[in-house]
């Protein structure tokens, strides 16, 4: 029985092809990205570009060449936030942010470079789109939001938000959503997107990236060798090279590419998940943190117990039922302040496509029994 319910931290298990591809690259094929032209490099480089194409397809963009491969979503978010924000700018963000967005913004505020402010949102954290206009200033240079909260699984509607902000660039953190929830970069008008490879995409840690529709708006975060324009001490002006200094995580990218090409069919349905949530909500000893509307619910939720702390809950789930889940703030203090669970946090359960209906039933029963 698969009792790992911490897939928002990192997904497990992965498709078998992920490890196979990584071992093959390490033990058999080898090769770096570009830099020369012998067959080993050509094969390895071609696979990196195949991965970029797979990612473009997954996120719904025709501009695969504007996908920058980084070590994780945090690196991608720092690249874009620090690279876009100029002195005197004003940034709008949501009340549900992870520290991957909140800390770079706060750092820039403390440096006296920008001001940032929260958009108004509903009790579950959904941005109130009709109130966005009142927050926009002449110097608003960016709206930066997470697509899916890593605390309650509520998914924003980036397309509606983009319509409300017009020409102001929209940056979306798709760390939790890409792979498990629809993402349509071109259709929704997303200008900048960050993603990670090791969560919903089921790839290895150390992979992730950014989609940068307007490279000219972003200063690089890293400077160094790219294998292109090497006669100049300046970075190349074109993407992806402009933002990809240094040898990428080629072994990891082999694994991510394999994950993208070998996505498992979900073993439980949306109805199974909804039934689980309804069952958990029946226990009045818990407050259940989830989207107000199941249509906007991603594959995670949290609970707060009337008397037991989140850490006590997590211990009881593991010791009593073998269930691995996560207690605490989940690196998202803003979200917990909004939801009313700061600073104690909550106990989070996040699903995998490998979970069966029987395993969801087991989880429901465990939550019920622990919460008695």
């Amino acid at each position: 029985m698969n009792l790992y319910f911490d897939n928002c931290a990192t997904s497990f298990p992965k498709p078998a092809a992920v490890a196979e591809a990584m071992v093959r690259h390490l033990n058999e094929t080898g090769g770096t990205y570009g830099r020369s032209a012998y067959p080993r490099i050509l094969q390895s480089t071609g696979l990196v570009e195949e991965c970029r194409d797979q990612l473009a397809s997954k996120m719904g963009t025709s501009e695969a060449g504007k996908i920058i491969l980084t070590a994780n979503a945090t690196t991608a978010l720092n690249l874009m936030i620090q690279g876009i924000c100029k002195r005197g700018g004003h940034v709008l963000t949501s009340s549900m942010e992870h520290n991957a967005i909140a800390r770079p913004l706060e750092h820039l505020r403390q440096m006296g470079i920008i001001e940032w402010e929260l958009l108004e949102s509903a009790p579950d954290g959904r941005i109130q789109v009709d109130k966005i206009a009142s927050k926009i200033r002449q110097n608003t240079i960016l709206v930066a939001i997470c697509h899916m909260s890593n605390v309650n699984g509520m998914a924003q509607s980036p397309g509606e938000i983009k319509k409300a902000i017009g020409e102001i660039p929209l940056l979306v953190d798709a760390s939790q959503s890409l792979g498990s929830h629809p993402v349509e970069v071109d259709k929704w008008g997303i200008d900048f997107l960050a993603f990670t490879g090791h969560k919903s995409l089921l790839g290895p840690t150390g992979t992730g990236g950014a989609f940068i529709r307007y490279p000219e708006m972003v200063e690089p975060l890293l400077y160094g060798g790219t294998g292109s324009g090497s006669d100049s001490l300046s970075m190349p002006s074109f993407v992806p090279d402009l933002f990809e200094a240094g040898t990428p995580n080629i072994t990891g990218i082999h694994g991510l590419n394999a994950a993208l090409k070998n996505r498992p069919i979900a073993q439980h349905s949306r109805d199974d998940f909804e039934a689980l949530l309804l069952e958990v909500k029946r226990n009045t000893n818990y407050k259940v943190r989830c989207a107000d509307d199941f249509e906007h619910q991603g594959k995670l939720f949290s609970v707060v117990h009337n008397t037991l702390s989140s850490s006590e809950l997590a211990l009881r789930f593991y010791e009593g039922f073998g269930i691995e889940c996560r207690a605490g703030l989940h690196c998202a203090p803003l979200a917990h302040r909004h939801l009313g669970s700061f600073p104690t946090g909550d106990c989070r359960f996040s699903l995998s496509p490998y979970h069966t209906p029987e395993e969801l039933n087991y989880l429901a029963k465990a939550i019920h029994d622990v919460g008695k």
Binding site: Y33, G34, R35, S36, A37, I41, L42, T45, G46, E49, R52, G65, G227, S228, G229, S230, D231, S232, P236, F238, P240, D241
Partner: protein
Amino acid sequence: MMSENREIVLFQNIRQVIKAEQWCRDNNLPVKVIPVPKPWSSECGMCLETTKDYADQLEEFAMESGMITRRIPTTNSTN
């Protein structure tokens, strides 16, 4: 062996080389991936070598795809 009426096609970056080489394979255009020759070594590490006629077709594809290329005629054998 590729020897006469040869051209080297340089690309702006590695991704473009890979995409162009893939297109050539799909369309049965005989090209060879080679290291960028020394006079142009500041370009990305690999480029394509083919005949002039095929380079015309390749250039057309590259332009349609928004790629930036540079063609260098060469009479030297590269194999």
